[in-house]
Symmetry: C2
C-alpha cells in the first residue's frame, strides 16, 4: 500500500510529506518533500496557539491549513506518484499531556481535494485512554526496527535528542540534540549558517573537558525514564550561560557537539544495545556520529537510511505507518511510552 | 444494525440520544432520552462560542463534552440496550456556511468510554465540497420518506419550521414554528408554561384576521428557496411588535398559531404534496395540526411516528442514519439542500 505521511512540527518550519510503500512491517521510502510555511502562516498559527483568540479564527485556520496540506500532498504525489491513504498529524495548537490536545488542518478538506482517505487526530485517543498523547513515534520505531535477537536503540537527533529502546519500547529524551550547536553556529557565523554543515566547525575546535564535566553534572541525565526535555531547557538561556565561560565560540561548538553525543551514549549504555540506528538532522553531522561510535565501543552505528527510512523524513514516515495501522484497525500507541492504560486504535478516518 | 444518534443543538437544551435499528432504508426507534445541560456547561459553551476565548478552553471543553456525550450514551444504552455504532453531531461553536464550521465533543473520548465506533464532524466535508454544511437532515427525510408515486412533504416544527420536499430534496425554512407561540405563552402564563400544551390556549382565543393578513405580507414568504429564517427574525422584537397591537394575549396566541400553519401551508402548496409528515414539538399541538389540515385540503396529514420515527427524536435519529451511511461509505449530503458540488461521504470515523 502506498501511503503519504504528513508532519508539521511545533517549530513551524513547514509541511513535510513522505511517501512510502508499506508491506506489513516492511516500509520503504518512495519520496520526501518539505514545503516551508509562509511567514504570515507561521504568525497565524502562533496567534491561535499562544494567546487568547477568537473561535472563528481557529475554525477558519483549520480549513485554510487543510488546503495547504492538500496542496503539499498533491505536489508530492505529482513528483512521486499517487497514494491510497494519507496520514496527517496536523498542527498542534494546544497540548496538555494526560488532559487534552488540539490539532488543526481539516482532514475533510484534504480528502476532498486529493480524493484519498485521510487519517488524522492521532493523539486524542491515547489521552482518552489515560496516556500523554505523546510520544507516538516509538511505536513505529519498534515496528520497523524490531529484531528477534538484537537490542536496537533508535535515536532521533532533532533539536532535542530522543531514543527508543527496541524491543522494550522504553522511550525518552536524552538531552540536547542540535539546538545548542545550531544556536552557537548562528552566533559564530553571524547568521550565515543555521547549523554546522558536515560538522566542519566542531572539527576545528577543541573540547573543553572541565566544561563538559560540569554540563554532564545536570541531574536530568541521571533521572529515570519516562522523562522529556523541554525546548526551553536548552534554549537561549543555556547558550548564554555557555558564552559567559568566555571560551572561544569554536571550542564551545566542539564541546556542545561532544555533549550531545555523550548524553546520548550515557542514556543508551545501560540498555546494552547491539546497534544504534540514527535519524534526524544530527545524522548528517559526522562529528556527532564519530563521537557516538567512540563513546559506544562494540555498538554498531547505522542510520535509518540503512533500513530504507530517509533520516530527514522519519517523523513524516511515522505518521504514514500510524495511518496504515488505523486503516487496518490495529492499535498503534505504546503504553510503555505514553502511559496509556491499554493499546488503542489511533486517529479518525475521513473517507 | 443498532445505532445511537446524538444531537445537541444551538439552543443548548442538552444532549438528545436516540437509539434506532436500521435495515437499509427501514429505520425504527428503539428509545429516546434527553439529558439537559447543567447551567455551568451552558455558560462554558456560550463563552467559547460567542466571544474571544483561549485555545486551551476549547481544547479542554472538547474533551469534557466528549465525557458528557459518553455518559448520556451509556445511560441510554443501559435503558434500551447496546449499539454497534454511534453518530454524534457535536456542539457547534462556530458555523459559517460555505467557509468553515467547528463542532466539539471529542469522538475519541466517546469511543474509548463506550467501546463503540463513533462517526463525528458531519458538516466539514460538505463545506469542503463547496456546500453550506447545512441542512443535513433533508437527506435523511428523503431516505426515510421516499415513495415511488407520492410526493411527501416532511415538516419539522421546531422554533422555526422547515420542510423537505420528497423526493425532489428541495428544503427550506417556511417561517415561524413554535418560537413566537412559546414566547407569547410564557408571557400569558407569567412563566408557568413554556409552550401551549395541547394547543389549549390557542383554542380559547379568536383569530385576528387583519393582523394575520398583515403578517403574511412579509416578503420572506414569497422568496424562492433555498432560504433560511434566522431565530432573530422571530425573536423578542417580533413578539414586541405583536404586543403593540394591544390585542388580547390569548388572541395573539391563536393568531400566531394560525400564522405558523398558514405559512407552512403556503410554502407546501406549490409542490402539490400528497402527504404531509410532521415532526418536532409542533406535532404535539393539535391546533397547528388542525389548521394545517384545513389549509391543505386533500393532503393526508401524518406524523413521523406513523412511520416509526419519534417526533421529538427525529434530529437525533437523523444523525444515527447519517452515521450508518458513513460507516457503509455512502454519500449523505443532498446537494439540492446544501449547495455542494457533489454528494460526499460525511464525517470522520473513530474506531
Amino acid at each position: 500500500m502506498k501511503v503519504a505521511g504528513v508532519m508539521s512540527g511545533t517549530s513551524l518550519d513547514g509541511i513535510d510529506v513522505a511517501i512510502v510503500e508499506i508491506h506489513g512491517r516492511r516500509v520503504s521510502t518512495i519520496g520526501f518533500q518539505s514545503t516551508p510555511y509562509l511567514s504570515e502562516m507561521r504568525r497565524a498559527i502562533l496567534s491561535v496557539s499562544n494567546t487568547t483568540t477568537a473561535t472563528h479564527e481557529i475554525s477558519r485556520l483549520n480549513f485554510l491549513l487543510g488546503e495547504l496540506y492538500a496542496r503539499a500532498i498533491v505536489r508530492a504525489c505529482h513528483r512521486f506518484g499517487p497514494v491510497e491513504l494519507i496520514g496527517c498529524h496536523g498542527q498542534t495548537i494546544y497540548h496538555e499531556g494526560g488532559s487534552s490536545t488540539l490539532q488543526i488542518g481539516e482532514a475533510a478538506v484534504i480528502a476532498e481535494r486529493t480524493g484519498v482517505p485521510v487519517v488524522s487526530d492521532f493523539r486524542t485517543r491515547d489521552i482518552a485512554a489515560g496516556g500523554q498523547g505523546a510520544p507516538l513515534v516509538p511505536f513505529v520505531d519498534c515496528l520497523l526496527f524490531h529484531h528477534p535477537r538484537r537490542t536496537r536503540i533508535v535515536l532521533n537527533i532533532g533539536g532535542i535528542a530522543n531514543i527508543t529502546v527496541v524491543p522494550s519500547g522504553v522511550a525518552f529524551d536524552t538531552g540536547p540534540g542540535n539546538m545548542v550547536i545550531d544556536a552557537l553556529v548562528r552566533d559564530y557565523t553571524q547568521g550565515r549558517q543555521n547549523f554546522d554543515r558536515g560538522g566542519r566547525i566542531a572539527a576545528q575546535g577543541n573540547l573543553n573537558r572541565p566544561l563538559l564535566t560540569r554540563l554532564l553534572g545536570d541531574p536530568y541525565y541521571r533521572r529515570k525514564p519516562p522523562k522529556s526535555a523541554g525546548r526551553e531547557q536548552y534554549g537561549a538561556e543555556f547558550v548564554a550561560r555557555l558564552k559567559r565561560t568566555e571560551l572561544l565560540l569554536v571550542d564551545l561548538i566542539t564541546t556542545a557537539t561532544v555533549l550531545t553525543a555523550a548524553t546520548i551514549a550515557q542514556a543508551a549504555a545501560p540498555y546494552s544495545p547491539d546497534e544504534l540506528v540514527v535519524s534526524g538532522g544530527g545524522a548528517h553531522n559526522p562529528q556527532i556520529m564519530h563521537h557516538l561510535a567512540a563513546f559506544l565501543p562494540g555498538v554498531a552505528i547505522a542510520t535509518s537510511a540503512d533500513y530504507g527510512i530517509d533520516v530527514d523524513a522519519k517523523e513524516a514516515i511515522a505518521f504514514a505507518v500510524l495511518a496504515y495501522r488505523t486503516w487496518h484497525r490495529q492499535p498503534a500507541n505504546l503504553p510503555a511510552a505514553t502511559g496509556a492504560r491499554r493499546p488503542v486504535i489511533l486517529g479518525k478516518v475521513t473517507f
